[in-house]
Each structure stands twice: as C-alpha cells, then as structure tokens.
Symmetry: C2
Subunit: 358 residues, 2 copies
C-alpha cells in the first residue's frame, strides 16, 4: 500500500463531497467539459489536427483541459483523453470516422484474437496519457483536483468486439458472452488488468480522483450486468484501493439507475447518475454509503436560460441539503450547446442553496 | 360505463395473471411475435407488398397474427398493426425507408402544425384496424384473448415531431417541450384524445386487453417522464377504464425500470418490463398492485438453446412462484432469430415451475 502525503488542494469541495463531508456549496464539473461546444477548444483542436493527436500532445491536452476551468471555474478538472486509449495501445487501430464515431481496424472476435492481445504497461504503452496527467496537474497548481478516468472493461469490450459503435445494443458482443463465454471472460480479465494498471499509473502521475465510464453497462440484463460489467469494475476498485485507499473512485453506468444498490456495494466512493434517476429517491436508496454525481439532462442546456436555471435548481432540490452531492450532467455535453447556457447552469449551482429537508 | 358480458375465453391464463389470480403455469406471449423471424410471416408479407399494406388488409393481418399462435401455442394474440397508425391517419404521411425505419412526410414542428391536426374518429379514420381486430377475434374463436395496442402519446409525439427515428434521443422533441411548451402540451392533449378513442374502438371491436407501448419514455428525466409521458398515459387509462373497467391495461415504458412505483400508480393492471430489471426486485417494489410482464432479453434468443433454456428459467425464478407474472421478452423479437430458439423458450415456460419462495 502506497501512502502518499499529497499536498493540500485549495478548492477541495469535490473531494469532500466524495467523502460525504459537508461543503459550503455543491461542487460542479461537467462530463466532456473540454469539448466542441467551446470555441477555444475548436481552435486548439484545429491546431492539433485529429482528435487522437490532441490527446497525444500533452501541452495541447493540458490547454483544452484548462479552458473550461478558466471560463467557468469548475470545482474539478478531468484529464482530456479518450475512453478507448487502452484498446488502441493494444494494437486494435483506433480511428474516428466523421459522423460515425470511433472504429477499430482490428476488432477481436475469437478466442485467439484475445489470447494475442499484448499485456500493457501503462507508463510505457500509454506514456502520452501520463505525460498529459502530470502536465495538467502542474498547470492546476493545486487549485482544484484532477480526475483521471477510464472506460469500464465491458464498455471497452463492446467497442473492441464490435469494432465500432452500435445501433443494435452491441448484440454481437452480448452474443459473444453467450456463445464464447471463455473468450469473453478472458477479454474482461485482460481488461481488468489493463484498466487497473492504467488507473494506478494515472494516480502515480498526479490524478486526485478517478472515474470509470461504463457507457454500455445499461444495455445488459440484471444478471449479465453483475457478471460482465459490475464485477470487473469491483475488481478494479479493489486493486486501486489496495494501492491508494485515499483516492476516491466514481462509477458511472449510464442506464444503471435500477442497480444503484448493487453499484454502491463495490467499494467505490461515488456513483454517477444519468438524468432518468430522481436524485432524492437515489439518495434514499443508497443512503450515505456513496456520494451521488449528476444529473441534469444535457438536452436541457439547449433550452432557454430560464429553463436551464429552473431545471438546475430542481436537480439541487431533488438531492436536498445533504452532504455527498456533486453536480454534473447526466451524460456528456453535446457539441452544439451555447457556452452561455453552461454559464447559467454553473452560476446557478454556485449561488443556489437547496432547502434543507428532513 | 359499458358493461359487456363477454363470452368466456377458454385459455384465460393471461387475463387471470393480469388480475394477479393464481394460474396453473405462467402465461406467455411475445412482443412482435408476428414478425420477420417467421418464414410464414415473410411469405405473407411478400404477398401484401409493403408493411402498411399488410396492416391494412384485415385477412392478411389476421393470418400473420395467427401464425405464431398456431406454431407455438402462445397464451395471447396481439393485433398485427403499427404503433404509428394514429399520426398516419392524421395525415402525416407514414412511410418506411429500408434500413431507416418509419418516417413522416409532414412532421409537426410548430404550434400551427399541431392546431391543424384533425380530430380522428377511430371507427372511421382507422376502420382498417377495427376490421383487423374483429377478423382476428373471430379467427381466435375464444381460444385465447386478443391484445389491442397503441403507442403512448409521448412516443407518437417523438416520431411526429422528429419525422423519423433518432440517433440523439429525440433531442429535437425534448427541446420542443422546453421551447414551445404550449405546442407540446396541445400535441399530447390531442394524442390523449386520439389514443383513448382508438383503444375504446379496439375494445368495441373485440380486444380483450390493451397494451400501451411507451418506447421512448425512458429517454426522459424523472420530472419530464411524469409530465410528458406518464400523465398522458394515466389520462388514457382513466378514460378507457371509465368505459370498460374490466379490460386490463398493460403499460410498457422501455427503460422505465427506475419508475415502477410511479407507473404502478396510474390505474393500469400490468407493467411491461425491459430486461434490465430484476423481476424479483420489481415485484418487491410494486407488490401485487400490478402484474409484471417480461423480461427475457431478445439478444438471448440468439444464444445456444441451452442458454435460452437456462435464462428463461432464470426469469421465471426471479419472479418466483407468485401470482401476477406474464412471461414475455424485454422488447420485441428481432428479425434474425431462429424460430426453433423461440420454441425452446416457449416450451421451457410451459414446462418449468419456479420454486415457491417466501
């Protein structure tokens, strides 16, 4: 167990909320806060060329990470990177097709493909990510914490097996779990190893907290979610906590609102919630076992600012005046949002206080 | 209130389960049971020409409705039709584009479009549906009950406003609810009228039970689900129950697993569940207030038959040996399923008994 005496972070609302400690106001950050809705991001992105070139350039990745912090004063920064860096480093050939999303040149479909996947050493094989983490950490100057992240093993497996996004709920990948169970189990085991190592390296490079993005766990049945998605995440949380017990971990399964009790039980510190969940009901279900993060619908940021303000207050009121809430969207912000609408959301969170409830 | 003394239906397991009465075994039917996975369906469909021509031909619609009944001995038949018949009858110009799904030539985007929508009289404007209902009812010969159905107002609104399916969670339609609330409310009010009238006409034509398909309610936030989707469905249930209190109504919101308590409270008799929900947990949450219908993942029907059998038993075991379960898939069957796999599922439901639990 590595106990690192980290220097104090000045604004520690986010970390305190993750520990369910009282804070002066609800902390806020936003999934995909460094993104195409910001003109300054689009400018930097144009300089870098394609998306992965931006991820692989530590200075530019740092610049886009800092842009929304400077503009809005978020309470946490998040590493600028992609969830598919691990399969890319394994040699699957990640590329982005305009309007189609991520694709892999070499998807894995057979046991032999999976057996052939190389074991990664994150510091070496994903050194560009670690350089970005340490560059951002330095730029943040201990003002706010830095969140490192990864895709969940199941979510990575979805893209690795399918080779791209899916219109049919990654049916091919779900079929693999039924038809080639040994292959799927080996793939998930290899991804548990790779993801754990990746997160440990991010902490070593400076990350103050971690989030696991389980974008596609919500496609699964209850039983399959437990075995294919939640259990691999549990193993990762255990491995990271064994090394860094003080580093908080947030688990976000989109569409996982029915399984909060099970998710709260894997040893993580916070749960990310999509917008379908009533925050007050969620808090009643999991108590103070974990912090809750979310959950304004990204669609609402398109609405008139009066609606943005009202719906932001409604999210705060749903959770109520209890410790353990981190304001966020229920999913990543979309490219066409007016940045001024984001400002209204941020200012509302900073200025509004939910009424204390019993 | 119209009290019709309906002649007794021979196999009334489905209706009994909806009343939470004991049955000798769990009844089973399957969403989209008349569909492309059946070679006999594809043959009849080819005769009819396009999909809507099949819906509009009462004899052929009856034939495809009966095909899965003859093949598998399901415990209920469901009207063969489309969820978008109402907007089509309103003049929006429904058509199907290969690989793209349903589209409307004249989507409604402004208050004036919605004000101009005609008021329908289902017996006249959707007479082909009523002819199909009475033709099927006669063919069924009181052997099993006939389920009528509709799309929910919100789901119909999604297609009517967007003009087609959506890759972005019908963001345009959600925006309309924020930017043009009056227009959205008028659209939903008109759809409550049209859907209520449509369901009442289906019962008058012979339907023994009704299902409301709320395919897109699960896209909404908690508050928006209540106001845009659930409340319109509540009004429909009230209107149908005022005329036909004995006709059971099933509400199926795909992705609505977090809201079961709220759904159970609108006066319906059963809830359709998608595959993400643990049936036993769902039963604990809603008690015997409603029957529960579901929820094998359609993807599982692709798996080897040993898996189909095991997962079918797991669904039955999750619910346990209580009254009030109707076996179904968690969503419609997909076109490429081997019909023999469906047989394994059906035979397993017919022969397996869940262990009584406390």
């Amino acid at each position: 167990m590595t106990q690192v005496a980290k220097p104090q972070i000045k604004n520690d609302r986010f970390l305190k909320a993750l520990r369910r400690e009282p804070v002066d106001r609800t902390p806020i950050w936003m999934m995909r806060q460094a993104g195409r809705y910001l003109p300054e991001y689009r400018e930097t992105r144009a300089k870098a060329g394609d998306f992965m070139s931006l991820c692989k350039n530590a200075e530019l990745a740092c610049e886009v990470t800092m842009q929304p912090i400077r503009r809005y004063g978020f309470d946490a920064a998040i590493l600028f990177s992609d969830i598919l860096t691990i399969p890319d480093a394994m040699g699957l050939g990640l590329h982005f097709v305009q309007g189609e999303g991520p694709q892999f040149t070499h998807p894995v479909r057979q046991l032999a493909d999976i057996q052939a996947l190389p074991e990664l050493t994150a510091e070496v094989d994903l050194d560009y990510v670690m350089r970005a983490v340490s560059t951002i950490k330095q730029a943040l100057n201990q003002e706010i914490p830095l969140i490192g992240f990864t895709g969940s093993p199941w979510t990575l497996a979805c893209y690795m097996v399918n080779g791209s996004g899916s219109k049919d709920g990654f049916a091919r990948v779900q079929r693999m779990a039924y038809e080639q169970l040994e292959a799927m189990q080996l793939l998930l085991a290899k991804l548990v190893d790779a993801v754990s190592d990746y997160l440990l390296a991010q902490v070593a490079a400076g990350a103050d907290a971690l989030q696991i993005f389980d974008t596609w766990g919500g496609l699964l049945s209850y039983e399959d979610y437990l075995s294919l998605s939640l259990n691999p995440m549990r193993l990762i949380v255990e491995r990271v906590k064994a090394e860094y017990p003080e580093i908080p971990i947030i688990v976000f399964t989109k569409g996982g609102g029915v399984w909060l009790e099970e998710m709260a039980d894997i040893g993580c510190d916070g749960l990310g919630l999509d917008w379908t969940v009533h925050l007050g009901q969620a808090r009643e279900r999991v108590g103070s076992q974990v912090a809750l993060q979310g959950n304004l619908s990204p669609v609402i940021l398109n609405a008139p600012t009066s609606v943005v303000e009202a719906k932001t207050k409604a999210v705060l009121d749903q959770f109520g005046a209890h410790p353990g809430h981190i304001f966020n969207l229920g999913h990543g912000i979309t490219p066409k949002i007016d940045p001024e609408h984001v400002r209204v959301m941020v200012e509302t969170v900073k200025n509004y206080r939910a009424t204390p409830s019993v």
